[in-house]
C-alpha cells in the first residue's frame, strides 16, 4: 500500500511542505557555499575543466592525434599555444581531450567506488554480526596495501587500458566509502527517528533506504567530491608509470610520462599537462572543502 493512497489530502499537503523545506535547506546550503571564497574559486575551476572537456572537439585547434613531425617539440607560439610534443601533436588540443578523459575517469571510478562501498558500509553497519566481521576483515586486507600499490596489483591482474584503470582506481576507494558509511549508520541506527520508524512497523529495507541512507548523503557528497580529485591523481600516476591509459591516447599522466624523456629540450611538454592536473584537482579539493563547511560545519572528514 503506497503512502499517498492512505494519507489522502493531508498527506499531499504535507508532502508539498516537506518538499518546500528541502528546497529551503538546499537554498541555504547554496548561499553558504557562495559565501565561501575557496569554494567559489573551486567551482569556477571546475566549470573551466568541464567546459574544456565537453567542448574539446569545438575548442581544439588541431586533431589531438595528428602528428606533424616537422614541428616536433616546438615551443609555445601563436600557431601552437602550448607547443607540440615529441610527435609534433598539438599539446593544447591534447590537454582539452585529456580533460574529457579525466571527467570520464573521475566520475566512473567514483561511481564504482560508491556502488560497492556504500552498500557494503550500509549492511555492515546496520546488520552487524558475521557479515560485518567478514567485510571489515576484507577491508582491512585492502587497506594493508598502500593505494598506488593496490592499483598496481589490480592493473597487473586486469591488464592496462582505460576501463581497467577506472575499475582499479574505483576499487582502491571502496574502503573509504565502506568505512565512512558504516560509521554513519552505526551512529544513526540508535537515533530516535529510526526507532520510531521501527516502532511503526517499517521493515529493515525501508529503514535502511528511506531513513538511514538519506541522512548519509551529505558526507557522501563531500567524500565523493574529494575522491574525484584522488581518482584523477591516481589515474594520472598509473598513466605516468606506463600502467594506465596507453599511448597514443591523450591522457594527462601518459603525456607527462613521455614529457620526461624530453625534459631538457622541451620543458613545455612537462609544464602544461601537469598544470592541468593540478588545477582540476585543486578545483575538486576546494569545492569538497567548501561543501563540507556548507553542508555541516561540524562534519569531521
Amino acid at each position: 500500500m503506497s503512502d499517498r493512497t492512505t494519507a489522502g489530502v493531508d498527506g499531499v499537503a504535507k508532502e508539498a511542505e516537506v518538499r518546500g523545506q528541502r528546497y529551503r535547506a538546499a537554498a541555504a546550503i547554496w548561499r553558504r557555499l557562495q559565501r565561501n571564497r575557496g569554494a567559489v574559486v573551486g567551482l569556477w575551476l571546475l566549470v573551466l575543466f568541464a567546459g574544456a572537456g565537453a567542448f574539446a572537439h569545438v575548442l581544439s585547434p588541431y586533431d589531438p592525434y595528428f602528428s606533424n613531425l616537422e614541428a616536433s617539440l616546438a615551443p609555445p607560439s601563436a600557431r601552437y599555444w602550448m607547443g607540440t610534443d615529441e610527435l609534433g601533436r598539438d599539446i593544447f588540443s591534447r590537454i582539452l581531450y585529456g580533460a574529457r578523459l579525466s571527467i570520464v575517469i573521475g566520475s566512473i571510478s567514483v561511481a564504482i567506488g560508491v556502488a560497492i562501498g556504500v552498500p557494503l558500509g550500509l549492511f555492515s553497519g546496520y546488520f552487524g554480526g558475521r557479515f560485518d566481521l567478514i567485510s571489515q576483515r576484507l577491508i582491512d586486507v585492502l587497506l594493508a596495501f598502500p593505494g598506488v600499490v593496490l592499483a598496481i596489483i589490480l592493473v597487473t591482474v586486469l591488464g592496462v587500458g582505460l576501463v581497467n584503470v577506472m575499475i582499479a582506481v574505483g576499487i582502491v576507494s571502496v574502503p573509504s566509502y565502506a568505512r565512512l558509511i558504516r560509521g554513519q549508520v552505526l551512529s544513526l541506527k540508535s537515533r530516535e527517528f529510526v526507532e520510531a520508524a521501527r516502532a511503526l512497523g517499517a521493515n529493515s529495507g525501508r529503514i535502511v533506504f528511506r531513513h538511514i541512507l538519506p541522512n548519509t548523503v551529505a558526507v557522501l557528497i563531500v567524500q565523493a567530491t574529494l575522491q574525484i580529485a584522488a581518482a584523477i591523481l591516481s589515474a594520472a600516476a598509473l598513466g605516468f608509470l606506463g600502467m594506465g591509459v596507453q599511448q597514443p591516447t591523450a591522457e594527462w599522466g601518459a603525456m607527462l610520462s613521455s614529457a620526461r624523456q624530453n625534459i631538457q629540450l622541451a620543458p613545455h611538454t612537462l609544464i602544461f599537462p601537469g598544470t592541468a592536473i593540478m588545477i582540476t584537482v585543486l578545483g575538486f579539493n576546494l569545492l569538497g572543502d567548501g561543501l563540507r563547511d556548507a553542508l555541516d560545519p561540524r562534519m569531521k572528514l
Partner: protein
Amino acid sequence: MFQYLLKRLCLAIPVLFGVSIVVFGIVRFIPGDPAQIMAGQAATQEAVRDIREALGLDRPVPVQYAYFLGGAVRGDLGKSIYNGAPVREELGQRFPRTLRLALSGILVSCLVGIPVGILSAVRHSTWIDSSAMIFALVGVSMPLFWLGLNLILIFAVRLQWLPAIGYETPQHLILPAITLGLGSAALVARMTRSAMLEVLRQDYVRTARAKGAAERRVVNYHALRNALIPVVTVVGLQLGNLLSGAVLTESVFAWPGVGRLLVEGVLTRDYPIIQGSILLVATSFVVLNLAVDLLYAFLDPRIRYE
C-alpha cells in the same frame, strides 16, 4: 599495555594472511597460462614446462599456496624470471634504500608542515595564514611525480645544483625527499594549524598567559605539546601515502628501491619480483601501522588500551 600489544598483534595476523592470499592470487588470476606468459610468446614448450615445474604450477592450488606461504615465511620468494637472481637478495639490497627515502620524506613533511601550521595558527586570519593554507592546498593537489619532474627541471637541468638521478651521496637524497615529503607536509600543516587553534582556545592556555608566561613559551610549551597528538595521527596515516609516493618518487628519480623494482617487475611481467616486492611493502605497512598505534598509546596516556 602488554595485553593491548598482544591484541593488536593478533589482529594483524589475519590481515597478513589475507595479504599473502592476494599476493599468491596475482599469478593465479592473470588471464591465460601464467607459465606461458612468464616465458614469453616465443618460448618453446619445454621452457614453458620448466617454468611451470619450477613454480609448482602443475600442482593443486591449495598445495601451491602452502608451498608459497612456507617459502615466504622462510624468506624464500623464488627467483627473478628476468635475471635469475633470488628475489630475497634483490629485496634485501633495495629495502634499506626505500626506507631511507621514506624516512627522509617524513622528516621533510614534519620539518616543513609543523612550523608552517604553527605559524598559521599563531597568525590566524592574517595574510601569513591564508598564504600558508593556499600553499597547503596547492601542495595536496599537485601530482607528486610532476613535482619531482619540476624539481629535476629546475635544480638539476637548469641550475645544475643537484643530481637528478642516482642514490650514492646525500645530495642525491635531497630532491627525492622533497618530492615525497611536500604533499604530506601540506596535510601536516593543515592538521597542525587546526589542532593549534583548538588548543590555543583552551582555558589552561589563557591561564598560562594570565600568569605572565611569554607568548613563545605559551605556544611552544603549553600549546604545541597537546596539539601534537592529532598531528602524530596524521603523520602515521601518511605512512601509506608515503609508501605509495615512494613507488612514484623512485620511478621519477630512478632510485633503486623496492618501489622501482615493483614497477619494473610489472612492466617486464616478472611475477616473482612483483609478488616479493608487494609482500614486503604490504607487510612493512601493516607493521608500521601497528607501531604507530602503539606509539600513540605510549604518547598519550588518555588512549586506553582496549
